[in-house]
């Protein structure tokens, strides 16, 4: 479509110089171009302003704590001593838990939708899954508080403590008192929230895998599952990784649902059933109560950290998805 546009521009092109410019200005094309360009520029401006504001407004905290900020465990507003370690830990742990649940579930569902289900059923399920992605996060939080937390306290928690908790090694993750709120609960809620993203991106990537790849595998005697798992999924793996990165970026930045079920306790403990805290949650809870500039600066620095984490992940995810769509995901 831009091909036609450029040819026409080229046709007018040879006439250059101020007179031609005035001619084109009179036409209005250049003016329209300029106006839309200004609006596009607003986006660039806003984004750079965002980074700038986060940087400037965290100045006090950056100057006072330096790199210590990242590995200090103390969060003491009264004495003005701030360390981000418990929040970074909580953010990472809840996100990892959510991915451990959401990736197998989402990938399996995407495989079903792209490889097995008839197109019509696949499309309508994908439609419902898109609706699931549209549910506001505060609604997930509401359901988290009143459904997942009690379930966790009475059924899921005890069941996991009695099974996984007795295993050597990973057992330590599933020990300790079970309050209902905590890392694991937040992980479950996050998993439900990010699974639609994994499914819809993975499904689209899987659907781009050429048909002859499947047919070749089947004609060599592979079962349907073997063709899918050993041929189709590896072909699409870059895009699937991209979808997982997108999901991770979303899980890291998710605020409301996590704030409502994490328990809000800035501690670093190995038990997944213990209450914790995340970056987004502490900002949501303490921002309006932050007394003093240093406190506010520390919270904004946490925001900066969160921004950088999601920035890097989103950038990587986009590159991976672009690479697959161009066929770069193919191993050969």
């Amino acid at each position: 479509m831009s091909a036609s546009a450029t040819t026409i521009e080229h046709a007018a092109g040879p006439e250059s110089g101020p007179r031609a410019l005035i001619q084109r200005l009179r036409h209005g094309d250049e003016v329209a171009h300029l106006i839309t360009l200004v609006f596009a520029g607003i986006i660039l401006l806003l984004t750079s302003l965002l980074v700038w504001e986060l940087w400037v407004n965290s100045q006090l905290s950056r100057a006072k704590f330096g790199w210590h900020f990242f590995y200090t465990r103390v969060w003491d507003p009264v004495f003005g001593d701030f360390g981000a370690a418990p929040f970074i830990y909580g953010t990472l742990v809840t996100s990892v838990v959510s991915l451990v649940i959401a990736v197998p579930l989402g990938l399996a569902a995407a495989i079903f939708l792209s490889e097995l289900a008839p197109r019509r059923i696949s499309d309508s399920i994908a439609f419902l899954i898109d609706l699931l992605a549209a549910v506001p996060s505060v609604i997930y939080g509401l359901l988290g508080i009143f459904i997942v937390v009690p379930l966790m306290r009475t059924i899921i928690g005890p069941a996991l403590i009695n099974t996984l908790g007795t295993l050597p090694g990973i057992g330590i993750l599933f020990k300790g008192p079970n309050y209902g709120v905590g890392f694991f609960t937040a992980g479950i809620v996050l998993a439900i929230m990010v699974v639609p993203f994994i499914i819809s991106v993975s499904r689209e990537v899987l659907l781009t895998v050429p048909r002859d790849q499947r047919e070749a595998a089947l004609s060599l005697g592979a079962t349907r599952w073997e063709a899918t798992w050993q041929v189709v999924v590896p072909w699409a793996r870059t895009g699937i990784m991209g979808s997982i990165f997108l999901a991770l970026a979303r899980a890291l930045g998710e605020t409301m649902a996590v704030t409502m079920v994490i328990g809000n306790d800035p501690k670093i403990v190995t038990s997944l059933f213990a209450p914790g805290y995340t970056i987004a949650a502490v900002i949501a809870n303490e921002f309006t109560e932050a007394t003093g500039d240093l406190y506010l600066n520390a919270l904004i620095e946490l925001g900066l950290v969160l921004f950088l984490m999601t920035f890097i992940l989103n950038g990587l995810a986009r590159l991976l998805i672009i690479a697959t769509e161009r066929g770069g995901g193919h191993p050969a």
Binding site: A5, H27, G28, D29, V31, H33, T36, L37, F39, A40, I43, L44, T47, L49, L50, E53, N57, P104, L105, A108, F112, L113, L116, I125, F127, I129, D130, L131, L132, A134, V135, P136, V138, I139, G141, L142, L143, I145, F146, I147, I192, V195, P196, I199, V201, T223, R224, E226, G253, T255, M256, M260, F287, T288, L299, G303, F307, T310, N314, R318
Partner: protein, 283 residues
């Protein structure tokens, strides 16, 4: 049949069944959410909810009329601030774009779209709250407006690109200049899609809570004008859900039902309209 073959066939059956189970499990979550909200919210939803102000703690009854109006006011601000920027930038990307600059704009838009909403809240706080030292409706509108922009840009660009090239060529062949082609032919042709895209963007930010916590804040009373703190449905759901009062929990369910109903209806309507008109679904 050899043992190996039996094993492979068995594995095939089991794994394929599991993928189906996974798909239906995820979809059933949607219906569980809906069911729970309708059950719990329906019990506590009544006419007062839409017409009364919140009552003081301990007093039962009351409603969230101010939060409903508040959400509408915030959305209006977000639309006024965000939609024009999104529309024009989308036109730029689809119709005027050069190579490098449009790549940068597109990438930045995706980046802005991926910024956690709480960070957008901090940004809007530093833009619109810090300078005047108090929370306001306006600041909440700024936060939501910023979030509307990237969503609108991408959907506008996509729908403009789906307009057949023959229309552009036809208009230009008749001697229309480029901007005239865009304004009188291309935009009207894509207007249905663009408008639905905008509605979807508003539906998306209607449920946002985090960016409002320290911009629009909240308010238990009416908020006249644009410079005072204002209540909104998502923030009310949050504060009511984490409060220790049963009556507030009931109200939270009712508000949740209203919010989810509006958001899902908007999504359902838009997506159905889009799929019916045969335009590619925007992701």
């Amino acid at each position: 049949m050899s043992v190996r073959l039996a094993w492979r066939k068995g594995l095939n059956g089991v794994m394929l069944t599991l993928t189906g189970v996974a798909a239906f499990a995820v979809v059933s979550v949607l219906f569980l959410i809906l069911g729970y909200l309708i059950y719990n919210g329906g019990k506590s939803l009544n006419w007062n909810f839409f017409t009364k102000l919140p009552t003081p703690v301990g007093e039962t009854g009351g409603g969230m009329a101010n939060a409903i109006v508040g959400s509408l006011k915030l959305l209006l601000l977000a639309a006024v601030m965000g939609l024009p920027v999104g529309l024009m930038a989308g036109v730029y990307l689809a119709e005027f774009s050069g190579k490098t600059l449009s790549f940068i704009v597109r990438y930045t838009t995706d980046l802005l779209n991926g910024v956690p909403s709480i960070v957008i809240g901090i940004f809007a706080y530093s833009l619109a709250v810090l300078p005047v030292k108090h929370f306001s409706t306006l600041a909440g509108g700024v936060a939501l407006g910023i979030m509307v922009i990237p969503i609108t840009v991408r959907s506008t660009e996509e729908f403009l690109r789906s307009v057949p090239n023959s229309l552009r060529e036809g208009a230009m062949a008749l001697g229309a200049s480029k901007w005239k082609t865009i304004a009188t032919v291309i935009l009207p042709a894509a207007s249905g899609g663009i408008l639905t895209g905008m509605l979807l963007a508003l539906a998306r930010v209607a449920g946002e809570t985090a960016p409002l916590l320290f911009t629009a804040f909240s308010n238990r009373y009416w908020s006249p004008g644009w410079t005072q703190p204002i209540a909104s449905l998502p923030v009310m759901i949050y504060t009511y859900a984490i409060a220790p009062y049963d009556d507030w929990h009931r109200q939270a369910w009712a508000a949740g039902l209203v919010l989810l109903g509006l958001v899902l209806l908007a999504n359902l309507g838009c997506r159905l309209a889009l799929s019916r008109s045969g335009i590619a679904r925007s992701s």
